[in-house]
Symmetry: C2
Subunit: 323 residues, 2 copies
């Protein structure tokens, strides 16, 4: 992984991926005690940064491979990012989703033209087994959600934008807080910042109980979460940092920050009130860290990446109750 791979991804996806704005509000600054800049990736196509990696990975395939199709496992944002990018690029797409995934997410993925294969999560079936069988039978290319160089490169294009937007805003030194699951986005941003904005430093933000990356960074080796599911931040619940992503994180990132689900809900409510954007809990973890863990950050500015906004209306209404 290197900056050239990210620059090549940026060239492939230019004109397709949306350059998302860097928002701010004096009301959020007052809460955090410093200037807070929010990279609104919830405004990306499909409602999360995942479209960057999906478009990057599928566009990097040679035409014959692409024409055979791609496969991904995901119950959420990666599914939608892959489905949309595949449809745009004329690649058949199979998405393996748990049968108990929200009906809306299944419907959305189908509406984007993907074939959805459901598996019974409760029955002990592993999605990897389902996916590998289908991939082998049909000659499909698996697009992993984070341990995939072209996916990391695509997510890194968000880091190129942050570097340029921070410079335009006059921010030369700051922590860049990133909602972190497997670490694809955090690693991509860290690589982009290393090359383009060395005064900015990426830092992973995770929910309590799923702080595998924070603990891994502290111990220097890959640590796993005890639990596999639970809590509100479904978008960033992964068992452990990736084999490709962790060495990048270990080399480039500052310490992780851990936030509570309640803080994520509160950050969602404040993003509604002050920025007029919609965040999901896992997409609000970095903003929650910026607002409610000011002592974990140094400097006059902090940048929080608001990674996604695919949240059910009922849960969003619950977050608004924090106001």
């Amino acid at each position: 992984m290197n900056i050239e791979l990210i620059e090549a991804a940026a060239a492939r996806i230019a004109g397709h991926v949306r350059q998302t704005p860097l928002l701010h509000s004096p009301f959020l600054d007052a809460i955090a005690g410093r200037r807070v800049w929010v990279k609104a990736e919830c405004l990306q196509h499909t409602g999360s940064f995942k479209y960057r990696g999906g478009r990057s990975a599928i566009s990097a395939l040679d035409p014959a491979t692409r024409a055979r199709g791609v496969i991904a496992y995901s119950s959420g944002n990666h599914a939608q990012g892959i489905a949309r990018a595949a449809a745009e690029l004329g690649a058949p797409a199979v998405i393996v989703m748990p049968a108990d995934a929200p009906a809306l997410k299944i419907a959305n993925t189908r509406a984007m033209g993907a074939e959805v294969v459901l598996y019974d999560r409760a029955g002990g079936v592993l999605r990897e087994a389902v996916g590998e069988r289908i991939a082998a039978e049909r000659g499909l290319t698996l697009i992993r959600p984070y341990d995939e160089p072209q996916v990391i490169a695509g997510q890194g294009t968000a880091g190129l934008e942050i570097a340029a937007q921070a410079a335009e805003a006059g921010v030369a030194r700051a922590d860049v807080l990133v909602c972190c699951g497997g670490g694809g986005l955090t690693a991509g941003i860290a690589l982009a910042l290393e090359a383009r904005a060395p005064g900015l430093r990426a830092r992973p933000c995770e929910p309590e109980g799923f702080d595998d990356t924070a603990r891994s960074l502290a111990s220097g080796r890959i640590e796993r979460n005890a639990q596999q599911a639970g809590g509100l931040c479904d978008a960033i619940l992964t068992p452990a940092p990736g084999k490709l992503t962790f060495p990048i994180l270990a080399r480039l990132c500052g310490p992780g920050i851990v936030v509570s689900d309640a803080q994520c809900l509160h950050a969602m409510a404040l993003a509604f009130l002050r920025l007029k954007i919609v965040l999901e809990p896992g997409g609000a973890a970095a903003l929650a860290a910026a607002l409610f863990h000011p002592d974990a950050v140094a400097g006059d500015d902090v940048i929080a990446v608001a990674t996604g906004g695919n949240v059910d209306p009922g849960l969003f209404a619950r977050a608004l109750g924090m106001l």
Copy 2:
């Protein structure tokens, strides 16, 4: 009023006003039966386009006049736009607000550094009388919400952005639907489009019962609303088109479109779901027209200006119930 005034406003406010994105979603296209482009002015500073006009007007004052201060009457978005612009430009600001305005809006306006003068709306006191007395006593300059050339010019900068963004998206011919109260934004956009994108045509969108502009355009003279208050679209409830704005609208705009409050709520819910932005009812009228009045529009594309997102959490949760 002319394009030079808008270009001069754009030069004055450059680097302060946010260039808001032009969003779209294939899911909204499917509802409307054509491509729907949403100019997300809810992401503007203070949560509505009103900051453009406020910054334009106050920055156009000569330094001595500006130092004496400005005054505005508003219970909503104009108040916040003026208060923030005044604070940034070092102008004292007095905002005359009804005593029964939402506590949050009064608090926000004060937090932005303005002096808030409350008047008793129920007691039959006219805000104009309160404002004129204070303006005379203190030598303040009144900034009217729409019948003010430098305010119209500032709002017109949104039209300059729409012209450029539509060209970038390959849209040469389309109706540009604008949520319309007194017509300052609609007039400004219409003037900008006339000069920069003659294939784009502005059209005002209003709620039922407050369709003064639609009726005025139909009759060719200024018509008034029978009622002065009511409904959900408080941001765009005005008694009649302005004396400055109406001749511009009559010369340049297509027919008005009238939407229901329920359609505005539904459009808010769809903007939440598909675009991840927060709209208030009056800020969703144009999107409601694009989605639910497809026969009122012609062509393969339509552009809807989403003018603001300053909505109470309870009302927003109610809108989400439409999903």
